[in-house]
């Protein structure tokens, strides 16, 4: 057999791997703390975390409202752990962690994000863990193989600029979006698991495949604008008047903006798609004890209240979101909800991607010259 450069490298890598395997026992016991259920669990975790002394979190939570307060609160509780966090979109987190694992230079200890779990599961890059705090979460929001637990809920709706579209005249149902008067006025996010793809998957689940395909064929005539950027930025653009309507946005974003005085409203269309973020531990984690302490903290009342204060939707039963978010929380506002499990989201992904490519990928950005006088107030 001809030895190629790669196979020579393979031998070299193999040699290193053997050496690494020889030192495996130490890592195995570190990993087993992740599922340890003994009575002295907490003591063991603290002892181990003292030795580790560090923790790196990759999360998609907003920095100033949620991620930093969580990190600070955790650091206060365990001052011997130096906490480092990195905020990225769920997609970027998945990319980075997969690449880090591939290159054998894993940095992250805890992962948190929306739409992250199935990719990590399929890539066999996360490991099971257990914590007594998870019992406070309803069973359907936990993975049956213990690879993730829900970290937050997200509900999606349509944001609309109330200066351009006065309250009351906005589209109220998915069918309303097909009205020709919205042509060229609707933007949605691409490059995210919870953007266009989730919209498509939700409609497929709600209407059935056949009706859904007919719906998308009609919707594609509306010239949807493909926006590649964060969800928050898209909503900001709606506030600025750049796009009158944005569908499939996190419903709490316009609520927060409206509270600051922006003329923006949110319309929940039924069924309201909902997903949960997940919290996971990557395979080969370096600071396993610190990671578990953090997950415990996150799922504790203290952690969940940080989430609540930051206007996220807590996952622990008994902790409701803030009052101003009641109108967009389906179970509190009597709205029909379509909870899309991570596995389902993942299963429908390929089909939804195909639909997107077929009907929406090459939609051009349309600039519409409005005949009606509705001058955008620049001042």
């Amino acid at each position: 057999m001809k030895t190629t450069f790669l196979s020579k490298t393979g031998l070299f890598v193999g040699g290193i791997a053997l050496l690494a395997a020889a030192s495996l026992p130490a890592t195995v016991s570190a990993q087993s703390i992740l599922t340890y259920k003994g009575k002295d669990r907490e003591a063991k975790l603290i002892a181990g975390a003292k030795k580790e002394g560090a923790l790196t979190i990759y999360s998609a939570l907003t920095v100033n409202q949620a991620l930093r307060p969580l990190a600070d609160g955790f650091q206060k509780k365990y001052p011997f752990i130096k906490v480092d966090f990195w905020r990225g979109s769920s997609r970027k987190i998945a990319q980075k962690v997969l690449a880090e694992r591939r290159a054998d230079s894993l940095v992250a200890d805890v992962l948190e994000g929306s739409g992250l779990s199935q990719i990590m599961v399929k890539a066999k890059s996360v490991v099971p863990f257990s914590t007594p705090y998870a019992n406070n979460i309803a069973k359907k929001y936990r993975d049956e193989n213990n690879l993730w637990v829900a970290s937050r809920f997200s509900y999606f709706g349509t944001a609309y600029n109330q200066k351009i579209i006065p309250a009351g005249t906005q589209p109220k149902t998915y069918a309303d979006l097909l009205n020709p008067k919205w042509k060229g006025k609707i933007a949605w996010r691409i490059g995210s698991e919870t953007g266009a793809l989730l919209f498509i998957s939700n409609v497929r689940m709600a209407m059935g495949e056949k009706s859904a395909t007919a719906y998308f064929a009609e919707l594609s005539k509306q010239g949807l604008i493909n926006f590649k950027g964060s969800a928050r930025t898209l909503v900001n653009r709606v506030v600025e008047g750049e796009y009158p309507l944005a569908i499939q946005i996190f419903a709490h974003h316009p609520v927060i903006s409206a509270k600051k005085g922006a003329k923006i409203g949110v319309q929940m269309m039924q069924p309201v798609p909902s997903v949960n973020g997940t919290i996971m531990v990557p395979k080969g984690v370096k600071n396993a004890h610190a990671a578990m302490l953090f997950i415990d903290y996150y799922l504790s009342k203290a952690g969940q209240n940080v989430l609540k204060k930051a206007r996220y939707f807590p996952v622990v039963t008994g902790i409701d979101p803030r009052k101003e978010l009641t109108s967009i929380t389906p179970r509190l506002a009597n709205l029909k909800e379509n909870y899309v499990k991570p596995e389902t989201l993942f299963k429908l992904r390929k089909g939804s991607q195909k639909i997107f490519k077929k009907y929406f990928k090459h939609g051009k950005t349309v600039i519409v010259k409005r005949k009606k006088k509705k001058k955008k107030n620049n001042k």
């Binding site: 890598v13 997969l98 591939r102 290159a103 620049n378 001042k379």
Partner: protein, 579 residues
């Protein structure tokens, strides 16, 4: 010519014979091996990644041609190729038009204010390309001053310009290449013989007619070569297509490469196939370009005694050309810097208006200066640039010396060190990404990985400076040293290095400046702990943190402009090319 002293000539012959006797010098072997180790794995992994199925976890699977088949049979590829071609041709046309105008006005006419043009070159070397592109997006965007003025003039209700389009890309990239175009054309115009133009004027032709029929015609070969060079650079560029094209759904090959890697899971196979195809296209174009401009660049040394041709007296028309000069200056430097300064001083960007002046604040600067992640980013960038430059400068000095002194086999060093030129930056990023993912050194996501990739990328630039510097040194100085009994190493260290020091310092500064501007390499390699300024700015734009971006950009550009100024002063002092 004086007859050389017999003993000296004997000594020379002996030295030459000795060198040939020992065939390839060990130093050449060592350097060549280092270069091979740095460059070869990247090339190999790049090809491998395109020929093997990408598994879910990123590893290589079965051998397959599928990625190439998919690529060559896809409509999308053809569209993007056409987009890239139109974009590149357009940018080159815009850049050359501006460059010709600028060069002619400054070099061949008595227009006042020609010296200001140097400021354009200095600042454009210092400003990060991300920031420069973003500044035009602010100027030409929906709420920007360009649209405001147009709407005011035409009375339109909606913004008329959509900068996120192919034409937007062409204009912005064209303006971005204008300084380079000016630099290259100015040396052409400067060395033109004025007698042709004088003959034309004396025969009764007007200024414009002379310009069109004589000046331009004489400069045609240079313009053609420049056209191709800018075409190539635009074709392989990434920043402008990513920031301007992608939001408008206009894709080119380089953005396709990036998007393939941006998928989850990353489609390394597709990225690899795109990269290889782009590599061949760009390689072919470069071969053609080299043939056209043979000997034009390599021997650029002290410009020496070339006399300045007589400039044309435009009479009262020089005020018009002066105005044009001022306008071009504003377009290339004034407006971009101005808008970034503006945005850095307001809490949110909603267009340029008198009311907004009341909101002026230094808050954005305060945030930037107080933020730890900004400090980290700037620190990382300085380290990266300094490290890359510190390795490239002496390394290429040594390679250039061995090559110029015709050590046996040293031509290989020249070839190897110049070979990274055919790699578009994004392709080099992909190649090195594969290296760091597949080799077990734990380098992925580290600053060192960016330093290594940047080093390789800027080797050719280093070579050019070092080569020019070494050519300036006459061999007799080294021969005198050998005659006095010094070994080769001593001669190199104590005679050559001090003499080539100015060229090396200039080289160091140049490599530092261009490596910190780059986006295409760090965007694929940077991890959370190795963020650099160009990527921080890129991310901030995508996340809508515009005002802080502007503050950071202004601060960073300020520092880089100072370094760029030092570079220009040194280059002028020692007569080195600033390209």
């Amino acid at each position: 010519m004086t007859t050389p002293n017999r003993s000296v000539s004997n000594g020379l012959l002996l030295g030459a014979r000795l060198r040939n006797l020992f065939s390839v010098s060990p130093i050449v072997v060592v350097l060549a091996s280092i270069l091979l180790v740095l460059i070869a794995p990247a090339v190999i992994f790049l090809f491998q990644s395109s020929l093997h199925e990408t598994q879910f976890d990123g590893s290589f699977g079965a051998f397959t041609f599928q990625y190439y088949v998919d690529l060559l049979t896809s409509d999308q590829f053809l569209t993007n190729l056409i987009n890239a071609t139109i974009y590149a041709v357009g940018s080159a046309a815009v850049a050359i038009s501006i460059g010709v105008l600028l060069a002619w006005i400054v070099e061949r006419t008595n227009t006042p204010g020609g010296g200001w043009v140097l400021i354009i070159s200095i600042i454009s070397l210092g400003i990060p390309s991300v920031l420069y592109t973003i500044s035009f997006l602010m100027l030409l965007g929906k709420v920007g001053p360009a649209n405001e003025i147009l709407m005011w003039i035409t009375g339109a209700e909606d913004p008329l310009l959509n900068v996120y389009s192919l034409w937007g890309m062409i204009i912005i990239e064209g303006i971005e290449f204008a300084p380079l175009s000016y630099l290259l054309l100015s040396s052409v115009f400067r060395s033109n013989d004025a007698s042709f133009e004088e003959a034309s004027m004396m025969s009764g032709a007007g200024i414009l007619q002379t310009f069109r029929n004589i000046t331009l015609r004489l400069a045609q070969p240079a313009i053609l070569a420049l056209l191709i060079l800018i075409f190539i650079r635009a074709f392989e560029s990434f920043e402008t297509p990513a920031l301007v094209g992608l939001p408008g759904n206009v894709s080119v090959i380089t953005t396709d490469i990036y998007e393939s890697i941006d998928e989850v899971p990353a489609n390394y196979g597709q990225a690899g196939a795109f990269s290889v195809v782009l590599l061949f296209i760009v390689g072919g174009l470069l071969v053609w370009y080299n043939r056209l401009s043979r000997n034009a660049e390599r021997f650029q040394t002290i410009t020496g005694k070339g006399f300045r041709p007589r400039v044309m007296d435009l009479g009262k028309w020089r005020w018009l050309t002066g105005a044009i000069l001022a306008l071009l200056f504003m377009i290339i430097i004034g407006f971009p810097i101005g808008i970034v300064l503006w945005v850095s001083m307001v809490p949110y960007y909603d267009g340029v208006s008198l009311e907004a002046v009341k909101l002026f604040t230094f808050d954005n600067y305060r945030t930037v200066f107080n933020s730890r992640s900004f400090h980290d980013s700037i620190g990382n960038t300085v380290i990266m640039g300094a490290a890359a430059a510190s390795i490239v400068a002496p390394f290429t000095a040594l390679c250039a010396w061995l090559t110029v002194r015709r050590y046996k086999g040293a031509w290989i060093l020249d070839q190897l060190a110049t070979s990274p030129l055919i790699f578009p930056a994004i392709v080099m990023g992909v190649a090195f990404l594969q290296v760091f993912l597949n080799l077990p050194f734990g380098l992925y996501g580290t600053l060192l990985s960016i330093i290594l990739a940047s080093m390789v990328r800027y080797l050719p630039y280093g070579m050019r400076y070092s080569y020019a510097g070494i050519l300036q040194i006459h061999t007799e100085l080294e021969e005198a040293s050998s005659m006095s009994g010094a070994r080769q190493t001593t001669t190199f260290l104590r005679i050559v290095m001090p003499l080539v020091a100015p060229a090396m310092v200039t080289c160091w500064l140049f490599v530092f400046l261009v490596s910190v501007k780059a986006v295409s390499i760090p965007i694929l390699l940077a991890g959370p702990k190795s963020q650099v300024v160009a990527i921080t700015l890129f991310d901030m734009w995508e996340n809508g943190i515009t005002n802080e971006l502007a503050a950071m950009g202004v601060t960073w550009t300020g520092f880089m402009t100072i370094i760029s100024l030092i570079f220009y002063m040194l280059a002028k002092r020692y007569g080195l090319s600033v390209r």
